[in-house]
Symmetry: C2
Subunit: 246 residues, 2 copies
Amino acid sequence: MEQETAKTAGLIIIGNEILSGKVRDSNSFYLASELRSLGVELARISVIPDDAELIGKEVSLFSRTYDYVFTSGGIGPTHDDITMEGIARGFSIRTKRHPVLAERFRKYYGERTNAAVMKMSEIPEGAELVDSGTSGFPVVSFRNVFVLPGIPRYFREKFSAIRERFRSSAFYLRRIFLNANESDIAEILNAVVAENAEVAFGSYPELDSAEYRIIVTAESRSRNLLDESVHSLLARLPENTLVRLE
Amino acid sequence: MEQETAKTAGLIIIGNEILSGKVRDSNSFYLASELRSLGVELARISVIPDDAELIGKEVSLFSRTYDYVFTSGGIGPTHDDITMEGIARGFSIRTKRHPVLAERFRKYYGERTNAAVMKMSEIPEGAELVDSGTSGFPVVSFRNVFVLPGIPRYFREKFSAIRERFRSSAFYLRRIFLNANESDIAEILNAVVAENAEVAFGSYPELDSAEYRIIVTAESRSRNLLDESVHSLLARLPENTLVRLE
């Protein structure tokens, strides 16, 4: 059994457009899957409005609580892009024009450079540029906080470019597809859960499949303990309940 | 201008399956849209793990902060269904078998009734049943907290059944489709934003449309102020920028 403690992460989605139902967030699901595949435990997601005070409080709290913090959104040139100001406020520092960023923006926008564009080069004092090498603009990080754009395509590009630095030890996962009612197997499952503290179980009814009615997931950092617990569960289930095991 | 203060809401999504990327949450987007159409301001979404202590803290904090709180998930019969226990813990009370719920479960499950099923009738002491009339099981509420199931189909059924009680005054929304770069119109937009405090603007670059490159949204509880601010913006935009106005 590995004794290594999992690295944890928190995700802060910044955007009135998500809270008001105008835009459907897809960054949460993407990052949750990516972090899982990297062995990082996503411990909390917050969706909060474009409000510098709230952003600051949330980022500061997350930064103290989790190993890594990711923010999504609020880094463009318009009035509602206040993530950098919010982060600075959360750590009681100022934002400052970063000369390398400013130079990149000037080059990219050329004659179209204006005050709104240059505002994007103002980042919390002491923030670093994590240069991804894959696109024109680096990811800005401040302490353990990584600031990502809200637009899904850019969010993915930026995270892909820096993802390897977060790789940790793996989780092993089995998915058990059952043709049973959750209420009928709940007591068996609860007993197996109680006996296998190092394995995390989940039980998810599926209404739209003709083939199975529940997916039970079992997950652990120990492949042996995982396999033992799954065998123990299968041995106790009623006949003809198992549809398949992945 | 209406002076009525908007009712606010918070949503707590409870589920390890969301945080670990196994299941994609669709309840947030549904509820955000629904609440908006009812005139309720969704102020925050939290996604947290199946942990009674965390659930309790979050529900109690949300209950004090927002007019309405909705929870999603964790009310089935298995070991990871601990929302009711969490809520009780958050308010320092106990869970107790509710006789009406217990009777409904017994009727519904008949001979298949077992301890895991009956656990679902244990709800925080003092909680109420909001009878939707549309399906077998009522929504449980405790103070301003409404407890909804995580399975999307049931989440929608239950919310639909109780939605009218949350109706408040409307928001008016205009969507302005522009063929422009966000950085080019940012200064104009920022000026209009500064002059129209009662109107909330958003600016969302769209990468996948051949027709437009930004959607600017403007929203207010006052239709007059909304129209004035939109006209003021349109008058200042460069020629041929407007694609359409909805």
